[in-house]
């Protein structure tokens, strides 16, 4: 959050001593806001003023870390309400709950499932980020936390509101920096002590937003700055509303008490409802959602939705420019080219897959632009296509010389045939037509050896 000149000036000694090399403190303040000088360049600045300054110029939403070393989950430090304004930075994490009712053995089984919840999709890894262990109804919360922490390959959230249980659990694994969920108006003082002593992040929840702000300030006064705002799923509309209000207050009003990411605890029986609610909260604006399910079919859609929404809208989504083999193509399989805009590529690849006819897709580097845009922006040309095909040694892969080109680039046909050995088949304008086209070509015996 940038400070105004007057705000910086107020922090300065206002003595115009000139030791900084500028005639007045006001002139120095202008340099600081223009970022050509640092506040520390003022020889008379007090450490108290420096601290005030660093707080005022800090990011409007804190980055919060759970875990230690290489095993850390980070959330927060978001800067916008809508992703098109810039982008969303730290993808919402999914935490899976370990109910207190599970025996130790059942718990370990569930943690094994959490550890294995890793999926690879369109070249990206998606995984569950946290294991969330309930401690309130455990007879030995310390042993439970230790056991979970040893087994889990992801950092821990400790769920509970009972101070003595939480104290035992946190103390047992404080070196692993678990997130405490959650401080309430009833337990706030002891939970602040636990978090402060163990130096672990703390999720906080009041009965109203006003109360939440009060409780957060209490924690901040005790020098706790790793905080998450806690919400539940009892009234989902209310939760979306509160997630929006707190984020807006932090980002647009620089309201420090809400300058922290959010965690939403979803308590629902059906895993379908868990999935649907988790995806809703994840896109508007939770940093962590807690669910119960470990089924891949319920987790994968949510993880995919999060992956989608946290992509950078200003960076064209591109795939590597190379020759892709769909199915197991052979020397008689069809060959086509397309752009490296990932949406185009994945649509084309998906349709080829759907046709069940193996084929080669030569992906031309169009700097992440789709077919029409790359043509309009001179990012694709006949020369580039022919050159790319040579680089990718397409001619060595197949015996025939028939090239399917995007229907929208039908205009390339003559020139490709003029300057290369390839005979052109004009493909469909829309990827959807690809299966029909491939089957038609197959029926006609186009690729028969």
């Amino acid at each position: 959050m940038a400070l105004t000149i007057m705000e910086v000036y107020k922090i300065l000694p206002k003595s115009n001593c000139k030791e900084c090399g500028f005639p007045t403190c006001m002139a120095f303040a202008m340099q600081v806001t223009a970022m050509t000088k640092n506040l520390e360049d003022c020889p008379k600045i007090s450490s108290e003023a420096q601290e005030k300054f660093s707080e005022a110029s800090a990011a409007p939403m804190k980055l919060v870390k759970v875990g230690t070393g290489n095993n850390v989950f980070e959330f927060g430090q978001e800067t916008v309400m809508f992703r098109h304004e810039k982008k969303f930075y730290n993808p919402c994490g999914i935490a899976v709950r370990i109910p207190a009712s599970l025996s130790d053995e059942e718990m370990l089984k569930k943690i094994d499932k959490i550890n294995k919840s890793e999926f690879f999709r369109v070249g990206k890894k998606l995984k569950v980020s946290l294991t969330a262990v309930e401690v309130d109804n455990c007879s030995q919360p310390d042993a439970r936390a230790r056991l979970a922490s040893e087994r889990s390959s992801v950092p821990l959230v400790l769920i509970g509101t009972n101070p003595s249980k939480m104290n035992l659990a946190v103390d047992a694994i404080k070196a692993k920096k678990p997130l405490i969920y959650k401080a309430t108006p009833e337990n706030i003082d002891s939970f602040i002590d636990i978090a402060a002593q163990a130096q672990v992040p703390l999720a906080i929840c009041g009965n109203s937003l006003e109360e939440t702000a009060d409780l957060v300030d209490k924690a901040r006064n005790k020098k706790i700055d790793q905080i998450a705002l806690a919400f539940d799923s009892k009234n989902p509309a209310e939760t979306i509303k509160n997630l929006t209000i707190t984020r807006r207050a932090a980002l647009t009003k620089n309201f420090r008490s809400f300058g922290y990411p959010a965690i939403v605890n979803i308590e629902e029986q059906d895993e379908e409802i868990q999935s649907a609610l988790a995806s809703a909260f994840a896109v508007k604006y939770a940093g962590i959602v807690i669910v119960d399910t470990t089924s891949p079919e319920a987790l994968l859609p949510v993880l995919t939705a999060i992956g989608n929404i946290y992509t950078d809208p200003q960076v064209p989504n591109a795939v590597e420019s190379k020759l892709y083999e769909i199915g197991s193509p052979n020397e008689n399989s069809p060959v086509m080219f397309t752009t490296n805009f990932s949406l185009t590529y994945f649509s084309v690849a998906g349709e080829v897959e759907r046709s069940k006819i193996p084929a080669y897709i030569c992906v031309v580097d169009t700097e992440g632009l789709g077919v029409l845009n790359s043509y309009a922006g001179d990012k694709i040309s006949v020369d580039k296509v022919v050159k790319t095909m040579k680089e990718q040694k397409v001619a060595e892969k197949v015996k025939h010389r028939k090239l399917i080109i995007p229907g929208l680039l039908a205009i390339f046909k003559g020139e490709i045939e003029d300057i290369s050995e390839w005979k052109v088949i004009v493909g469909t304008e829309n990827a959807r037509g690809i299966p029909a086209l491939l089957h038609q070509l197959k029926d006609k015996g186009t690729y028969d050896a």
Partner: protein, 319 residues
């Protein structure tokens, strides 16, 4: 502690569009469906209202050759007859309206005639008493032939007909005006083309208060982010006063979802991705839930479990 005032000063409302006509209104529907009318994003009741909740349209088509078994098996034999499928959607799945897509008219499909298409429309209207959305097959030339007859067959029913693109909007404007239907304006994930469609329609003297915007739709994992952001931006423009964008939005989630492998392929093809009987419908339901958050008003869904899940969450969101 006092919370700062974070209200956005939106200055415009999204238009309110009613689909369907009861007997008293010249149709034969038992109820109508109204969408839009919001003065802020969903659930932000502190700064505005959203008088109408999002609605679910049951996906029905006369050509199921492209649908995977996950959907076919879940629906059963009724899937082969549009009117029986529609009936099941209403009576068993509890959808708010029916979205009938006449894919069979496609030249590469059954190439069914305008008269055959009109018959299907009639049979669906007869079988169910909820409002109807009618889409052509997507081939402009063919749609120009079948949609006028379908529109006429549904005359007075105040259907929603789609979709008007730059290439074919004149025909659609003419039939919707003549037979008193609402119109879907289509743009390919492009906010400027969306606005241009609205301008073309108003220039053709079609009342924008009778229009639903279709910014095409992307499946989860296949460009969802683009459509999500376009829906948000369109809604922001509408709320900020751009009358051309202040219209409700429709998402055809079924058509897109059931083309992608994550929804349709079993675990043998996608090891570790879980049971497709649940993964498929959740691929559809999660996609719908995300679009609801970006201000979609009509969601077209096919799988009964997806419909059930989205219905249930809408219920929880709109207590």
């Amino acid at each position: 502690m006092k919370i700062p005032d974070v209200n956005e000063k939106w200055i415009n409302k999204i238009s309110e569009v009613t689909i369907g006509a009861t007997r008293a209104q010249g149709g034969t529907r038992a109820r109508t469906v109204t969408v839009g009318g919001g003065s802020t994003f969903p659930f932000l009741s502190f700064e505005g209202e959203n008088p109408n909740k999002p609605v679910i349209a049951g996906y029905v088509t006369d050509d199921v050759s492209d649908l995977p078994d996950v959907v076919k098996n879940a629906i059963g034999n009724e899937i082969n007859l549009p009117h029986e499928w529609a009936k099941k959607c209403v009576e068993e799945y509890g959808v708010d309206l029916i979205s009938l897509k006449l894919l069979g008219a496609g030249p590469a499909k059954k190439d069914s005639s305008p008269a055959e298409c009109a018959k299907i429309v009639e049979s669906v209207l007869k079988a169910v008493d909820v409002p109807l959305i009618i889409w052509g097959c997507g081939d402009d030339e063919k749609d120009n032939l079948i949609l006028p007859e379908c529109s006429q067959a549904a005359r007075g029913e105040n259907c929603l007909i789609g979709s008007a693109k730059e290439s074919n909007y004149k025909t659609l404007v003419a039939i919707c005006k003549a037979d008193k239907h609402k119109l879907i304006a289509e743009a390919p994930v492009d906010i400027n083309l969306g606005k241009q469609m609205s301008i073309l329609l108003s220039d053709a003297e079609f009342d924008l208060r009778d229009v639903i915007m279709f910014q095409s739709t992307a499946a989860l994992g296949y460009g969802l982010d683009y459509v999500y952001t376009i829906l948000e931006r369109a809604r922001i423009s509408g709320l900020k006063g751009d009358k051309m964008m202040a219209v409700p939005q429709i998402c055809d989630i079924a058509s897109e979802t059931w083309r992608v492998k994550e929804a349709a392929a079993d675990e043998e093809a996608l090891p570790g991705f879980g049971d497709v009987e649940k993964r498929g419908p959740l691929w559809e339901a999660v996609c719908a839930q995300v679009y609801i958050q970006s201000a979609a008003d009509i969601l077209i869904l096919a799988h009964p479990l997806a419909i059930k899940t989205v219905k249930e969450t809408i219920k929880r969101f709109f207590v």
